[in-house]
Symmetry: C2
Subunit: 309 residues, 2 copies
């Protein structure tokens, strides 16, 4: 009865490679080594180690895809993509420290504090957060002031106590405690969801999205943000450390509440697919507003849910 | 031969009390407890403990005084004053942690990690930094977008690898090493000078300062920023912990290079007065541009150099 679905002609790998080529070059050029004044006393090395040559770069890809969907300013998108990745990278550096998760392996390499010492890791994380806001406020006329201010506001909220840092505080406080489904959702909406959703919304904010477009992208961002965490919890159980590039099985070992501990493996797999359907439905709403460059957002949602690491 | 100097009718204490009344109320209202969504899981308590009811608030006062000198937007100044204080407060929280200075006393109270644990202290510092940028980007029309973007840029640069965080990295790397005068100046220009100077320049940026005004205030900011550190080094030797509200004599105990270890106590006292004279000279240049509301900036420089704690 339904019209046949359009063939998925979009090649995510090719698109991603093009986007990431730009993002990686920007990060490499801008992180702590401006020709004029490189970061002093080894700080730049620690910052670059934390950011360059690693990670799936999901957040930058979400920024770029959302900007593409609204036909926004590419210069603003590139800076936003780098900025969200810096915030993500700093959070990993601090999260891995002995007083937090005490992890020694990240992306298959020693964590920053193992390699550079705790004090330098602390400073590198701090400096990366500041750098994110520096990236968003260039003085070269490439991004208008209203967009700069809006992007800073969105990133600050997503990173702070009502976003990522708040979620981590809940995470800290809930180790070993049984959480309800609502509490677990709340924690992840803040801890990982806020920055993923902000990536989508910052990409959109590089253009001039209507209210309807913002609503659709916000729903998409919320769905993929949550799906990402559900899949993360699944992979912690089903994948090995070598595939993950980080220590597997940690959640259970640390008695952390997860979607798998709450709804079981089957239930979690099913939930992830539900969230993926929700993301796709949001993109259909987006298309109903007349915007049709949604292929990258669709493919990213698929990839994010069906990833193996 | 000279005309008699104007009598110093300006009452710094009265002026400061007025400014700080506003700043303290804003901090108390805005730090991690918006009615809508307070910070979760004790994070807000740690953030508020780190910021409220303590500190000399030198940086906020410099912001307010500089804004007054250029007749800038008071709403922008208040937000900037709070933002620089948040950055200062977060840096103290992280700096006190065991992997850094390992200090247990600050402003006469247990440090944040002693009171709330290391993980919460780490998160509280991170969240305070993000909050600073949230403060600078209100959505209520009180500060125009160009000013918001400019303030974010200035604060990010002052806090990051080319500012405070960079200076702390040099500090870390130089414990136990003999520094030259140039190296010591470099370290402090970044570690404490950058944020103090940024406080002055952000206050100025709440208005529309001419190049000449910016140059004069930049020179003033550099002088007071450096003087502040020289006096800090002096007080570490001459004051006791109770007066300081933090552990005295730490620099020598940790074999940290200081202005006192480099140029002696007498030399340092003399140098502080030289820097004070330089600050005053910069303000005379400012007055030569036609701006005469410099009394607060003058008095702050005096207070900062002649303080006993």
């Amino acid at each position: 009865m339904n019209a046949p679905e359009k063939l998925p002609l979009f090649a995510l790998e090719t698109w991603s490679a093009q986007q990431l080529d730009e993002v990686e070059r920007a990060l490499s050029r801008w992180v702590a080594c401006p020709a004029a004044a490189p970061a002093p006393a080894g700080l730049g090395d620690a910052m670059r180690y934390a950011v360059l040559d690693g990670g799936k770069r999901l957040r930058p890809l979400l920024v770029m895809a959302a900007c593409e969907a609204v036909d926004g300013n590419p210069a603003a998108a590139l800076r936003s993509a780098c900025a969200v990745e810096l915030i993500h990278a700093y959070s990993l550096v601090h999260d891995d420290m002995p007083c937090m998760d005490n992890d020694v392996l990240r992306r298959g390499k020693p964590t920053v504090h193992v390699r550079f010492g705790e004090a330098q890791a602390l400073l590198a994380g701090d400096a990366l957060q500041a750098l994110a806001f520096e990236f968003l406020t260039p003085d070269d006329g490439s991004v208008d002031a209203a967009t700069q201010a809006r992007l800073c506001r969105m990133l600050a909220q997503a990173a702070g106590f009502q976003g990522m840092a708040g979620g981590q505080a809940i995470d800290l406080a809930s180790v070993g405690l049984p959480l309800t489904s609502a509490q677990l959702h709340d924690m992840h909406r803040l801890k990982t969801g806020a920055l993923l959703q902000a990536s989508v919304m910052m990409g959109a904010s590089c253009g001039a999205p209507s209210q309807a477009v913002q609503a659709a992208l916000s729903a998409y961002g919320a769905a993929v943000g949550l799906a990402f965490q559900v899949v993360d919890d699944i992979l912690d159980v089903t994948a090995d450390s070598a595939t993950l590039g980080k220590t597997a099985g940690k959640d259970a070992a640390q008695q952390k509440p997860t979607f798998v501990s709450l709804m079981g493996l089957e239930g979690s797999l099913h939930y992830a697919q539900q969230l993926l359907a929700r993301a796709h439905a949001s993109l259909s709403e987006l298309e109903a507003t007349g915007l049709h460059h949604t292929a990258a957002l669709r493919a990213l949602a698929d990839m994010l849910v069906n990833r193996q690491h």
